[in-house]
């Protein structure tokens, strides 16, 4: 049967463009501009979906995406909603959540078990035994669920866009259009968005029979389109509001991140359903849905309908339907006094029977329940309850509900607005709005069309005044004068079991009564226990009634009962719109390419990539590392240390500043000499260590750890401000390449490449020189981190490659080899040098890390000094020691972080370990209880597999304790 009507003024379909599509395997035709639900209803396909839990038949309900009755998938995309899915040629969709198709869905049987499935049943039924829960969960997911995800689908890349405006107006209905025009006239750049494909909002369907309203609509639309300051985007939802009017706009193609200076929420209302027996069956729908179906898609919603009304809107809907040839069997008006306006007379003139003080007690299903055959109309007592003895059956194939509205103000909530229940409109209205947020129209409790337009204009001018573009008088906005557009309690029970409050989650009235009996008397708890408002439509049609029900159960007012929070997103957003591109910034030294060309295995080190070791064919990782280390001990090696922090500290207060930052002394440090420095935070915990080179009286060159440099530099900047010192800090980390040439042959390698005198007297250990190396200006430092004669060479980044390859070339006769981070870690462990962050943790102070020698004597102050004065008085809980393992041993070796156990108690922890060393046996560094830490003491370590390993406390350094080799 074809329900399509002749062409109507303002319809959204394009009859010149027929569209062929398939639903549940059936070929159907519609027009461009149709959505799936309208095109199906045009063919009288009323059964369009199955409910989540009971698999009840469901059909078109709001036709605005406010419900989630009709959800389909096409094998690629899933969970698309019939109200919002435009039909296109070749569209081939199936209903989700059925077994054996929509018509024959095997899970229909679930409804018979409803009395075994009360609210909260799965919390109770599947609680124990716990090990069975995965089984139950799997079973439940088969029965109750939404569409399937197809992991094999090709990735979809969606663009991300950015936009800016003075004022964002959300909703292009009467209030939004008027607000956008008023603001734009004052010079504001306005972005006007609407989720529907066409502007106008309710003007398209609610006021379509009103020529004056249509003329006004046309005039406003012309102004909007002509105004240079207004950009209109339809098919765009404002999905979420974040701090400082940072708004997510979502359209079919992309996510736009909008920065607005102010926001006008003119989003109107969600029409709310009445609650009665079988109020979910196909054929029962919101009056606004019937009007949308009629006016936007030219589809006749019903042949013979009963309208249940509690406001003027219901009468307007009845007259619209009547005008389109729908027989209106009756208007059941919940109000005992009926409709106060002239609309009542208009309805009577049209021959419509008006039943004042009556409700619908039940929608009577036809066989198969996919349609309705009658409405059971019932008079109401003065207290609002049904007089069930006086039921009257009225034959009909449709029920249109017009009993109230709930403002669509989730965005305003997210932007910081607060709302209260106002009796004069029986809905929430703004009680306080933050600066820059405005609400107008029906969302602001203005329902008469001229009031909506006036309120929109007021809000637009207020926004202009807020942004300093308007200083005239701001108009007042008239309050709603007529009777409330919403019924305070449109909920009716004739002891039926199928009076639905939340269609998404199949919750009926009894579920709320049960929840309340169980003690859930707070809206947030009720929400979590019943899951009301937690389905795909997020309570757009259920939260309002749920609050009314709970308020009545508690004997409290709506304001006392409260509201639930509406979080982003306004409507579901496809994951592809949200997915970002991978962006992990990575730092590479100037020598990165060389390492990769020479077989380096690269590793992440903080933000940097560094060579872990260089592969050699036929050798394992550990063999390569040990060979690199041995080559440093026996010949000479070269390592890229360009990741070190490199900070220039200059100015007359430079030395004094460093004495504040580090624990040590620097005022008397000689120019041309290095000192080791340890820095603590204010609690005395070690946060950094490094080498401080004095290049001149007022110029120091400081190195910092690779991972800590950025933070350390930042904190140094702050301390310089706090101390008020004349000091300039330059972070040269990225400007310079750095390499450490180490080993007994290093002097011979460097000698041919530099103008500096390398003799031990002219350039001793811990000396620093500014010299040229391979023609490049360099800072050269005699350091001993790896425990051999060595030169750390810092050159401009652009010269790094040249200097490195020159050193490799000059070192060839001396068996030079590059070495990686792992070999360096082994070599420094042999020397007992700690790595901050590896061998220290967030509580380690210098006394337990055995670097108290780096604290300057009698210093009046350094950061952490006052705390260390206190700590010094206390006994040590632990100290950093060396551990030595026998060369010939069996069983597993501990790993870093393995615990040291003594008499069943934890007494320490491994911080660094080398399974093989140039000493011929494994060594480690560990924290250990001081009374167990004498050299030669035996310790037992629990390994990761639960076994134990024995070791002996050893004196550090393990290698070259006198430091003769680095001198």
């Amino acid at each position: 049967m074809d329900r399509r009507l002749p062409p109507r003024e303002g319809e959204w379909i394009d009859r010149s463009q027929p569209v062929e599509f398939r639903f549940e395997g059936q070929s159907l035709a519609g027009f461009a501009g149709d959505v799936l639900s309208s095109a199906l209803w045009a063919h009288d396909v009323r059964l369009q979906g199955r409910s989540f839990k009971y698999h009840r038949p469901r059909g078109l309900y709001s036709l605005a995406g406010h419900d989630a009755n009709v959800i389909v998938e096409d094998g690629r995309r899933t969970n698309m909603r019939g109200d919002l899915l435009p039909i296109t040629d070749g569209l081939d969709v199936y209903s989700v959540n059925t077994s054996g198709g929509l018509q024959r869905d095997r899970w229909r049987i679930m409804e018979r078990f409803d009395r075994f499935l009360p609210v909260g049943f799965y919390y109770k039924a599947f609680h124990t035994p716990r090990w069975l829960f995965p089984h139950y969960e799997n079973q439940m997911r088969q029965v109750a669920g939404l569409g399937r995800v197809h992991p094999g689908n090709a990735a979809v890349e969606t663009p991300k866009d950015y936009a800016f405006c003075d004022l964002l107006v959300v909703g292009a209905g009467p209030a939004g259009l008027a607000g956008a025009i008023a603001a734009a006239e004052q010079g504001l750049k306005v972005l006007l968005v609407d989720e529907q494909p066409h502007p106008g909002g309710s003007l398209n369907w609610q006021w379509s029979g009103n020529p004056a309203a249509q003329e006004q609509f046309g005039g406003m639309l012309e102004q909007v389109r002509a105004h240079d300051n207004i950009e209109l985007r339809c098919g765009t939802q404002a999905a979420g509001a974040y701090n400082d009017y940072w708004i997510a706009l979502v359209d079919d193609r992309r996510l736009t991140k909008l920065r607005a200076k102010a926001m006008l929420v003119a989003t109107g209302c969600f029409e709310q359903p009445a609650v009665f027996q079988n109020n979910d069956l196909p054929g029962v729908m919101l009056a606004s849905a019937a009007q949308r179906l009629l006016q936007l898609y030219a589809v006749k919603p019903f042949d013979r309908a009963v309208v249940v009304a509690a406001n003027s809107d219901g009468y307007r809907a009845a007259l619209d339907l009547h005008g389109a040839g729908v027989e209106i069997a009756a208007i059941a008006d919940l109000r005992h006094d009926g409709e106060p306006t002239g609309l009542a007379q208009n309805a009577a003139d049209a021959g419509i029977e008006i039943l004042a003080g009556c409700a619908i007690a039940e929608a009577v299903p036809s066989g198969g329940k996919a349609r309705i055959q009658a409405a059971a109309v019932c008079p109401l007592e003065k207290d609002g309850s049904l007089r069930t003895g006086s039921l009257r059956r009225i034959e009909c194939d449709g029920i249109a509900m017009s009993v109230g509205w709930s403002p669509n103000v989730g965005l305003a909530y997210q932007a910081g607005g607060r709302f209260r229940y106002a009796e004069h409109v029986a809905q929430l209205v703004p009680s306080s709005l933050p600066d820059g947020l405005f609400v107008s129209g029906r969302a602001n409790g203005r329902f008469e069309l001229h009031d909506q337009i006036a309120d929109g204009r007021r809000a637009g001018l207020c926004a202009a005044a807020h942004l300093g573009r308007f200083d005239g008088n701001l108009p007042d906005s008239p309050q709603h004068q007529a009777s409330p557009p919403s019924h305070p309690y449109p909920i009716f029970s004739n002891n039926g079991k199928k009076n639905f409050v939340d269609l998404d989650e199949d919750l009926h009235l009894a579920d709320f009564k049960n929840a309340h009996q169980e003690g859930y008397d707070n809206i947030e708890l009720v929400k979590r226990f019943t899951t009301v408002g937690m389905g795909p439509s997020q309570g757009k049609l259920s939260n309002s009634n749920a609050i009314r029900i709970l308020a009545r159960l508690n004997g409290a007012s709506i304001n006392e009962t409260g509201t639930t929070t509406s979080r982003p997103f306004y409507q579901p957003v496809r994951i592809s719109h949200l997915a970002g591109r991978r962006f992990h910034p990575q730092r590479r030294t100037p020598l990165d390419g060389w390492h990769r060309q020479h077989g380096a295995e690269m590793m992440h080190a903080g933000a940097w990539m560094r060579p872990e070791f260089y592969t050699t064919s036929g050798s394992t990782r550990d063999e390569c590392i040990l060979a690199e280390a041995k080559n440093v001990r026996e010949h000479v090696g070269l390592i890229d240390v360009g990741t070190l922090g490199k900070i220039l500290v200059c100015g007359p207060d430079a030395a004094r500043f460093l004495e504040h930052i580090y624990t040590g002394r620097f005022e008397k440090q000689k120019v041309g000499r290095l000192r080791y420095g340890v820095a603590c935070d204010e609690t005395g915990v070690i946060i950094e260590d490094g080498v401080i080179a004095r290049l001149a009286e007022d110029r120091f060159y400081v190195s910092a750890t690779s991972s800590g440099a950025a933070v350390f530099y930042r904190e140094m900047q702050r301390w310089a401000l706090i101390f008020g010192m004349k000091v300039t800090l330059i972070n040269a980390t990225g400007h310079l390449a750095a390499m450490n040439l180490a080993g007994p042959k290093s002097r011979e390698v460097l000698a041919g490449l530099t103008d500096a005198d390398l003799s031990p007297d002219a350039f001793p250990y811990v000396g620093v020189k500014e010299a040229t190396v391979a023609g490049a200006r360099a800072i050269v430092m005699r350091v001993g981190f790896v425990g051999e004669l060595g030169y750390e060479i810092h050159v401009p980044a652009s010269q790094g490659w040249h200097v490195w390859t020159s050193l490799m070339e000059a070192g060839r006769p001396h068996n030079i080899r590059p070495f990686g981070v792992e070999a360096q870690r082994l070599l420094r462990l042999e020397k007992g040098h700690l790595i901050v962050g590896q061998d220290t943790d967030a509580l380690t102070h210098p006394f337990e890390a055995d670097v108290a020698w780096a604290i300057g004597k009698d210093k009046p102050f350094f950061i952490g000094s006052r705390s260390l004065d206190i700590v010094k008085q206390q006994s040590l809980d632990r100290k950093l020691v060396g551990l030595s393992f026998p060369a010939h041993r069996s069983g597993p070796l501990p790993q870093e972080c393995c615990l040291i156990i003594h008499e069943g108690e934890i007494v320490g922890r491994i911080t660094s370990i080398a399974p093989a060393s140039t000493l011929g046996h494994p060594i480690a560094m560990a924290f250990l209880r001081p009374d167990l830490a004498n050299v030669g003491a035996k310790v037992t370590i629990r390994t990761t597999d639960g076994r134990t390993a024995d070791a002996e406390v050893a004196a550090m350094p393990f290698y070259d304790p006198d430091g003769a080799r680095q001198k």
Binding site: D244, T683, R714, L721, F861
Partner: protein, 89 residues
């Protein structure tokens, strides 16, 4: 995302900034007190609702400054360079 007004660079999105904790007295002025006072200074922070003076750091330009923020409404009220409290930020 919030907007924060860097005194040098103007209004910039929050992701360009690093929060540096509340503005606290110079430790040089506190180091001579009792141990308990020092421990209080080091470990305790003022979480009382109200307008807080906080350190913020503009990462790309390396600028430390002070922001006054109402921690009830999460609104920044003004920003200025350290030591420039008297001038309007």
């Amino acid at each position: 995302m919030k907007i924060l007004n860097c005194p040098i660079n103007g209004p910039r999105p929050l992701q360009e900034f690093h929060f540096g904790g509340e503005l606290r007295p110079n430790p040089l002025d506190r180091k001579d007190g009792a141990d308990a006072d020092w421990a209080d200074y080091v470990f305790n922070r003022d979480g009382e609702p109200g307008v807080k003076r906080e350190w913020w750091y503009h990462i790309p330009s390396g600028t430390w400054f002070i922001a006054e923020r109402d921690n009830v409404t999460d609104q920044f009220q003004r920003t200025y360079l350290y030591g420039a409290e008297q001038t309007d930020g």
